[in-house]
């Protein structure tokens, strides 16, 4: 759509600007402030320069948390994206069953994150949970509170349970927009199922899949509540991801300087990915416009 140039439109945007500035810029300035200052208490601060940043960058604790975070995001993307596409391809196209699938699949997306944690905390327990009890009956030793590997498996399965539907719903929306003529042309050419997927469905889903991957990456990169409820970051530090570590540092130990420096670097990473996201979105819009 051709847009008119109108600088008075600023007045319409002003309330949003004021509100978001209040809830984003002021807190962020506090963080910047803390990241370059040190204190001996009594609210007396002095300039610390880049000391905190150097300390954070050299800290093995944060390196470990970052490695765990990247590994976690990589694993869940590797599982959720193919699985989501697979589910979307198998969903009914219309009618009652399509509605039923949509409703049931959306249900996990709308459960409060701490309840997702609670559900899996209960589900995985050997004494009272269906999953833990079944595994124990099968003779598999499984204990997510004591064994790091089991804790990882639980957190990953939980995330797959929670978010695969999002990828599937987005892919499904992409599939629905493919005109029938494409499939008919493929039928005339006697294209195999795989070729239909590779040369028709996948290219047509490209846009929504990019959105899905970026959203899943962002949200997994700042995951906090679900693993916090299930494992509390343990056993040891095995499932302490970036956000959990940051909250421990800032609110648990009140290490303001390092926590603030950490926050800023965290935020810069997010900013970078947001920019990629924005570019992808605007390019998609342009392509649609043609």
């Amino acid at each position: 759509m051709e847009k008119t140039v109108n600088h008075k439109a600023w007045f319409l945007v002003l309330p949003v600007l004021v509100l978001v500035a209040f809830s984003a810029v002021i807190p962020l300035m506090t963080v910047v402030n803390y990241s370059v200052q040190d204190t001996f208490g009594n609210n007396v601060f002095f300039w610390a320069g880049l000391e905190w940043f150097q300390q954070v960058l050299a800290s093995p604790r944060i390196h470990d948390a970052l490695m765990r975070q990247i590994l976690f995001s990589a694993i869940i993307l590797a599982i959720e994206v193919p699985l989501g596409i697979f589910v979307a391809l198998n969903m009914p196209k219309r009618g009652f069953w399509a509605s039923l699938c949509l409703v049931l699949m959306a249900l996990p997306l709308l459960i409060p994150w701490n309840v997702v944690g609670t559900i899996w905390q209960i589900f995985g327990r050997v004494d009272i949970g269906l999953l833990g009890h079944t595994l124990a009956k099968l003779g598999i030793s499984y204990n997510y509170t004591a064994n790091a590997f089991d804790a990882w498996v639980t957190v990953i399965v939980m995330d797959v349970w929670h978010w695969t539907s999002l990828v599937a719903l987005l892919a499904y929306a992409g599939l629905q927009s493919i005109p029938d003529a494409y499939y008919q042309a493929a039928k005339i050419d006697q294209a195999s199922r795989w070729k239909v997927f590779r040369y028709i469905e996948l290219p047509k889903m490209q846009g929504v899949l990019l959105i899905a991957i970026l959203l899943r990456f962002m949200d997994s990169f700042m995951i906090y509540t679900e693993p916090f409820v299930v494992t509390g970051g343990g056993p040891g530090n095995a499932t302490t991801f970036l956000s959990i570590d940051l909250v421990k540092m800032a609110i648990g130990q009140f290490d303001l300087g390092p926590a603030a420096a950490f926050s800023i670097m965290y935020f810069l990473v997010i900013l970078l990915i947001s920019w990629v996201f924005y570019t992808v979105m605007t390019n998609l819009d342009k392509r649609e416009g043609i």
Partner: protein, 285 residues
């Protein structure tokens, strides 16, 4: 182009297609089973007594009881959690939609100085990790005396909900042709009257979807709401995590509390089922 044109060639693939349909039904059944089992288990536990939960392992409740729900609905320390959550969630949704409507209109209709930068900046706030903001929010709201009030949590959640609402509403508004606006102005409508009388009914479904997602994202958030409250505005999510850390766990009540938090989403899910992908993708699908 009709199907009959393909009748001779279509017969063979259709016979082969039949088992594939069954295959997809099996896949969907397995996937939905995987999704539903943990939820079923929660509901199952919420209907059992604690002795049944801990002493025997039963696939469905043998002594069906609603005592856990009664506990929650009669004990103020439990049900006030729901009331508090609902208060700040509704406040947040109302604030977000109100400020986002004109802004989304501006973004969808006009170019102005810095519009693209502003739109991007909003997105970064939707994507910002709450963990970064937890401590500064705590200090900000403590210093202005709003700590442990509903409005503090409502304002804090505006951080990600206002950008979300702007993006979703913009996605819906761009689908409305601009000629409608121009015709209305020629007919002598003022901007506010046009917006409320003509434009808002046109994007009613968009407003509904945006409100639903604001409600949902505020409802599911734990970290900020827990950090900003202690007693008076303590949300249900925080009430639940504190029970988890206590020894001598009351599993039945915990499960019942969990089931009750799922209900608001489950109630409206049917009406928004076709917009869920669009909402999560910020109006871009």
């Amino acid at each position: 182009m009709t199907d009959t044109a393909f009748a001779p060639t279509a017969a063979a693939p259709r016979r082969r297609a039949l088992p594939r349909v069954k295959g997809s039904a099996v896949v969907m059944a397995l996937y939905l089973l995987f999704l539903m089992l943990p939820i079923y288990w929660l509901v199952n536990m919420s209907l059992k007594t604690n002795t049944e939960i801990t002493s025997t392992f039963t696939l469905w409740p043998r002594n069906l009881t609603f005592a856990n729900y009664v506990t929650i609905l009669t004990d103020p320390s439990w049900y006030m959690g729901y009331v508090n959550s609902l208060i700040y969630v509704v406040m947040n949704t109302a604030i977000s939609i109100t400020v986002a409507l004109p802004a989304a209109y501006a973004f969808s209709r006009y170019t102005f100085l810095g519009d693209k930068h502003l739109f991007f900046w909003l997105l970064t706030n939707r994507m910002a990790p709450p963990a970064v903001f937890a401590l500064p929010f705590f200090q900000l709201y403590s210093s202005v005396g709003l700590f442990d009030t509903h409005i503090a949590v409502a304002l804090a959640h505006c951080l990600f909900n206002v950008p979300l609402a702007v993006w979703i509403l913009e996605g819906f508004m761009r689908g409305v042709p601009k000629e409608i606006d121009e015709t209305a102005y020629i007919d002598g409508y003022s901007f506010p009257r046009f917006f409320v009388k003509i434009f808002m009914p046109l994007i009613a479904s968009g407003i509904g979807v945006a409100a639903f997602f604001c409600f949902m994202f505020s409802w599911v958030e734990l970290l900020l709401s827990r950090t900003l409250t202690s007693v008076n505005a303590k949300p249900i999510a925080a009430t639940m995590t504190r029970t988890v850390s206590a020894s001598g766990m009351d599993w039945g009540v915990l499960a019942a509390a969990g089931v009750l938090t799922i209900i608001p989403g489950a109630l409206v899910i049917y009406f928004v089922r076709n917009y869920i992908a669009k909402g999560f993708a910020l109006g871009r699908v």
